[in-house]
């Protein structure tokens, strides 16, 4: 059975303006690879309802899972939850269990659960809450869409809450072979190797070190035996490294 597929939707002007360097994509990619879920596309859009809804609808119909990051805080530009509801044609309102989580949290920290913070309890009908041990305000899963915060520590905690609930596939494993030749010298043999092992994905990542060219060839697949056979075949092609 093929692995489940996934896409990620990163929401936030701050990424597109270059103010903030996104960290969540790289984190999620690694986690999904370990879990055996194939991340096949990522989109980054601004805090714009039309852009968020269009991207969400395209991704949720094309992939088994969609993970979103950003736009679920208390400020006016946090519109993700409402956009998700709109994309699904589902009502959204303040939900009692989410409100209670926030009420307890703010009572214990001496801060006010005001109108702005109450927005973080707005959850589309039919969603399941995603636990947020860092700052309490929950994410949520609605059908195949997992809605999480953009702050990396919170995003990571929410991913840890969601991933165990998903059925993964065979974890993608990889093997890296370093060859001290330029990419152009190894491209021909590599292409033949890729044809011989169609079940593997074989990529080459060139580098320069001390003025010499080299490539890290990464073989990826789900079967350790096939991976070892192919890695050995590659090493045999370049016996001197």
């Amino acid at each position: 059975m093929p692995n489940p597929t996934a896409a990620m939707l990163v929401i936030g002007d701050e990424i597109l303006s270059g103010r903030t360097r996104d960290a969540n994509m790289h984190f999620l990619a690694g986690q999904l690879t370990e879990k055996g879920v194939d991340l096949q596309e990522v989109r980054v859009v601004s805090d714009d309802a039309h852009a968020i809804i269009a991207a969400l609808n395209a991704l949720r119909s094309a992939f088994d899972h969609v993970f979103t990051s950003g736009g679920i805080g208390p400020t006016h530009d946090d519109i993700t939850a409402d956009c998700i509801a709109q994309a699904f044609g589902t009502p959204i309102d303040i939900r009692e269990d989410a409100r209670q989580l926030l009420a307890d949290h703010y009572a214990s920290t001496g801060r006010e659960l005001n109108v702005a913070r109450l927005r973080m309890a707005r959850i589309p009908d039919g969603a399941t809450l995603i636990d947020n041990p860092v700052s309490i305000a929950p994410g949520f899963t609605l059908k195949n869409v997992h809605v999480m915060a953009g702050v990396p520590s919170v995003f990571q905690a929410m991913v840890a809450s969601v991933l165990p609930t998903l059925t993964g596939g065979a974890p993608l494993i990889s093997s890296t072979v370093r060859i001290d030749r330029g990419e152009g010298d190894i491209a021909g043999p590599l292409s033949e190797l890729a044809e011989r092992f169609p079940e593997l994905s074989i990529g080459s990542y060139p580098f320069q070190q001390d003025g010499r060219y080299g490539s890290n060839v990464v073989l990826r697949g789900t079967d350790q035996t096939v991976l070892s056979t192919a890695s050995n075949a590659l090493r045999a092609l370049f016996p001197n490294g």
Copy 2:
């Protein structure tokens, strides 16, 4: 006149598997902001012809410019140039001026211009070459699509070659106001500020420091006077920081 719009298409399995953390998106975002070009969407897709062509066609029809990163090297998984040609319905072949650049370069470095390396001279008909001072193999611009390498040093050099050829708009300028309150405390006033200054984009980025909550509020726009007025109004709302 509104600023020109742009999208970026990042191509590469290594980003989606979590092996490599993309650096080009953040770099390009900052450069485009300085140039007055609005980066409105980024997509990351794998080394898959169908995915590349579909994303390219969606983005080039929706935005003034599309910048691509990755997949123009000599190996079998470098299929970007052929995908671009296919997306435009344009023939592609080894082009003499690109071949000559590579021939001179490899002659001078004592390496062989073999079949694999010659692939880097494949340029769609009607494209303009993008200078690559780092490793010579050129990128290219075809209509509103700028095709560049994924290796960050090469990508950055190509961006430096392309950007001066584009007509930019008013550079986006920003002002950051630090407020030592939680986001939930400032969300209400911030929302009113955003309504009062519709020409600005106002975002809030929460942080925790020494156990206390704070927010960096970033105001972005193209008019320095408006930006200063709004920043001062914001500071006046929170006189104690």
